[in-house]
Symmetry: C2
């Protein structure tokens, strides 16, 4: 009996700067068979996230690079087709890290079962998944917003930024978002309920941000880097905290950055304002805070205190183009591929 093909997208070559379609290659392969303790999954949703740009590079980072010819990595929601693990049966849904492909085997012990009645399956890749937990753990552990403080976050219409601002408001802080273009800005203010929003394409970004933050900035949740930093930096208050979880604006950068050198200026302010800058990857906090995150976030969503937006692309073949657009801010909400 002919099995369906496993359709997968591999890293064809490493990008120089901005990724191009030719850095990806769509392949057909045999659908693998599960060994004892494993399950075979048909992937229903693939998450596309900025961190994937780092995996395409050979440069050392917090995780190993993807090798040329390997399947692109990524979080996924799969439906169990065949199970050789006692906790799963055909028809179950599970969160896995199966990458850019239509089918995958996975060890049952490494999967988290999902209840499709509790929440839409795709949210396990977004507001109830890695991006939501990045916002929750980084903001609460490092940012520690207090009542009346001002929290600023960029990419505020995205899955991390939108959660940061909404959680900040739950904690009694003032949320100021930065987003690209009038449509996203309106959404951030009206749907996500931020107190203020500033368009990063505004030629007077610095002035507009200063006006939106009359009491300065106590927490800047850094998930973009780039020119937003220069607008934020002068507004930081004494004892401000800066969780750093992403630098999408510089992921495509190559070679030296032109001067002047801003490092001595940064360090001077770190000293004179007693700033805290702390990089993090959400998995550092997963064991300690994962359970409280999932229960609190589910409750906040149910109560309407946290809203989310998804940007769904149909078909695995469209993943490369969607990912390239993500790095340029073309998505609007959490980008997922529906297979």
């Amino acid at each position: 009996m002919p099995q369906p093909d496993n359709i997968r997208i591999v890293l064809a070559s490493r990008p120089e700067g901005r990724p191009k379609p030719e850095n990806f290659r769509l392949e057909h392969a045999a659908v693998p068979a599960p060994a004892e303790g494993e399950v075979l999954l048909a992937i229903r949703y693939l998450s596309l996230d900025p961190y994937m740009r780092g995996r395409m590079s050979a440069a050392k980072s917090y995780a190993a690079s993807t090798e040329i010819g390997q399947v692109m990595e990524g979080g996924t929601v799969g439906e169990v087709l065949e199970s050789r693990h006692p906790d799963f049966k055909a028809g179950d849904f599970a969160l896995s890290f199966s990458g850019w492909q239509s089918h995958a085997v996975a060890k049952g012990a490494q999967l988290r079962k999902l209840d499709p009645k509790a929440a839409p399956l795709s949210t396990a890749l977004g507001v109830l998944g890695m991006p939501g937990f990045t916002a929750y753990s980084g903001l609460l552990t490092i940012g520690q917003p207090k009542t009346g403080e001002t929290v600023v976050v960029a990419a505020a219409s995205g899955p991390v930024g939108s959660a940061v601002g909404q959680i900040a408001r739950i904690k009694g802080a003032r949320a100021v978002g930065i987003a690209g273009g009038p449509e996203k800005c309106a959404y951030v203010k009206e749907k996500f309920g931020f107190d203020a929003v500033v368009d990063h394409r505004d030629p007077d970004l610095a002035g507009k941000l200063a006006a939106a933050c009359p009491d300065g900035i106590d927490v800047y949740f850094e998930n973009v880097g780039g020119h937003v930093w220069d607008a934020v930096f002068p507004l930081l208050n004494t004892f401000a905290r800066i969780p750093v979880c992403g630098l999408i604006a510089q992921y495509n950068a190559t070679g030296d950055f032109p001067g002047p050198d801003r490092l001595p200026v940064l360090m001077r302010q770190v000293l004179s304002k007693s700033l805290t800058i702390r990089g993090f990857i959400q998995r550092e906090f997963a064991e300690a805070q994962g359970p409280s995150f999932r229960s609190e976030m589910a409750r906040w969503i149910a109560e309407g205190a946290v809203k989310y937006k998804e940007d769904v692309v149909e078909g695995l073949a469209n993943a490369p183009e969607a990912f390239i657009g993500l790095l340029e801010g073309k998505n609007f909400g959490k980008l997922v591929v529906k297979l």
Copy 2:
């Protein structure tokens, strides 16, 4: 009856870059009389510290600038000449913040009485005072060295650096010092007991530091800035902590710093290595940790676990020259002026 003059050194003008003798002026004034609740002090020791460079500038920092014509600020040990406060009598010694002058009145409530039999009076300005507490609070609160970790500190023959390394060793960490010239380096290793020391004047500072830190750097206690940073930066381990308490190498800098821009490179490493960079001023921790510091440090000194070195300059008139030398690393040990 003629009173002795109050001899004082005031800020004559703001330095551009490196301070010069003409930025200071020695004046004679009347010795002030204490009001109710105050005491009159004859200053016996004046502390000279790098932070004073910041007070000479008009630029906003964590403390207000000294005004032109005002007495230079500074920590002091005084002998009570006359007391109108019930806790003090003539002949007592007290820690005060009386600045660069021979006499001062101070509110008794703001003074800490010193026992000249418990420790040499000058140590209240050094290992048992602000520099020692800077090392203690920053290292233990932010640096948090663990057994077997590597702690690196520059200006390791100075009062902060020498205490950082010795406290790190008490906590079971490996202490690597950076100092200027063979004499200071030998002292750091032999007298302060650091595990290794590197000369920052070595043309291969980066290579020597890498060799001295085979397991990388877990804590870099930043109290100098400048070119030492470039040697330290590539060696930082994942989850490294960087308490920042001083940047003496750039205090005299003016204008923009030439490129390339190292800020994006820093932020990339903050992210990929989950680094913590935290500026601090010791007074942030004074209330919570001051008492434990004074008792622990006194015990460590008594046990010989912490040693200290002082560089004593005789006569207030020599304070400006000594201070200018301090900013160039000419002192060897905690710099104090004996009046």
